[in-house]
């Protein structure tokens, strides 16, 4: 299940698609009190299991990427599971197969690296003290050598007018280190 989020709703109509990043250490599953969120053997984090989910929204609050959505009409947390029904039979996820601009891409790493010569994929994200590695990668400029994307570094910044990029790749001071 994919959803769109507004980047800066008060000033812009720009949206970004949000798909699950499929963390190697899924926080949503760690906080689930009902053991409802499961990972497939090849590392895809699934929608909560209907018989187990108690609709407590812990995962919605815990996910650093804001992926899980509480569907109150079903009393069930639903999220992107990389279209498990399609990818388990060798097809691309629906979002990647219909994306006209290639913003969402599904395929071998070497293929996307050859397609986007100025970018490289990275799958390490830092939220304060928590570093998360994911199955889904984001493309960052190739000349940038940072090992991770510091998401919270830009949390309180607002992009200057007309700019859509935030300096999340600059290795700023880690807030926790600063405090100690």
């Amino acid at each position: 299940m994919i959803h769109l989020e507004y980047v800066e709703r008060s000033t812009s109509v720009q949206t970004v698609p949000v798909v699950c990043m499929h963390c190697h250490s899924p926080t949503c599953a760690d906080v689930c009190p009902a053991d409802a969120i499961k990972r497939s053997g090849d590392g895809r984090v699934m929608t909560a299991r209907k018989p187990r989910c108690i609709a407590c929204s812990n995962c919605v609050l815990a996910c650093p990427f804001g992926v899980p959505k509480m569907m109150t009409e079903f009393d069930l947390m639903m999220k992107c599971d990389m279209c498990y029904d399609r990818t388990s039979t060798g097809r691309k996820p629906m979002c990647a197969s219909v994306c006209p601009s290639g913003a969402l891409y599904y395929g071998p790493r070497a293929e996307v690296e050859a397609m986007r010569v100025r970018s490289r994929p990275t799958n390490s994200f830092r939220f304060g003290e928590q570093t998360i590695t994911t199955k889904v990668n984001m493309m960052v400029p190739r000349e940038n050598l940072d090992t991770h994307i510091d998401v919270t570094a830009a949390m309180n910044e607002r992009p200057a007018a007309g700019l859509i990029a935030l300096n999340v790749l600059l290795d700023g001071p880690v807030p926790m280190e600063e405090a100690s």
Partner: protein, 181 residues
């Protein structure tokens, strides 16, 4: 603790493997291949559905028994008395093509006939008239030949009885009686 079964085992926030995690984490693994935990709700659903299926099956068996054809049965010619006495055993199908039966000669003028389906799981029983028994080879069930009652093995009910009638030295089947006791 067996090693994780999934191709890409999940990581934990403390970067230790599953074997070194506390027991409450090991008991509820996140990866589906490692998860053999049956949740209470799934277990209760399984119990309710299977017991419901058993109830429905029993009702169906009772209804099928009540609706079973109880006659009148056709009269079917099996063999002449002389033929049956010389052959000792005659196979036939009665009352329809799906019920194999056996007519047995136990001595001069003493004829019995039973359905051939074992009352246990409907294998075909084999007559051994010299030993006075009918043997079901599937699970070693034994029936005695005089009444068709079980004497050994898993069958608990006697074989169905086929009523015979002798008119002018010809043996006819005239009735079929499934028996429970």
């Amino acid at each position: 603790m067996t090693p994780p079964l999934s191709e890409a085992p999940r990581e934990y926030p403390d970067h230790k493997p599953l074997q070194e995690q506390p027991h409450w984490v090991q008991d509820f693994p996140t990866d589906v291949p490692d998860d053999d935990h049956v949740a209470r709700r799934e277990f209760v659903k399984f119990l309710v559905l299977t017991s419901g299926a058993f109830v429905a099956g029993q009702c169906w068996i009772a209804a099928a028994g009540a609706l079973r054809e109880k006659g009148p049965f056709p009269r079917k010619q099996l063999a002449t008395v002389a033929e049956l006495e010389s052959r000792r055993v005659v196979e036939f199908r009665y009352p329809d093509e799906h019920e194999p039966c056996l007519a047995l000669c136990l001595g001069p003028g003493r004829f019995v006939a039973y359905g051939q389906k074992c009352s246990h799981l409907a294998c075909a029983v084999v007559p051994h008239l010299d030993k006075g028994e009918l043997h079901c080879p599937c699970h070693n069930g034994f029936f005695e030949v005089h009444e068709g009652r079980p004497v050994a093995g898993p069958p608990r009910r006697p074989l169905p009885l086929v009523k015979l009638e002798i008119i002018d030295a010809v043996v006819y089947a005239t009735g079929f009686e499934p028996r429970t006791v």
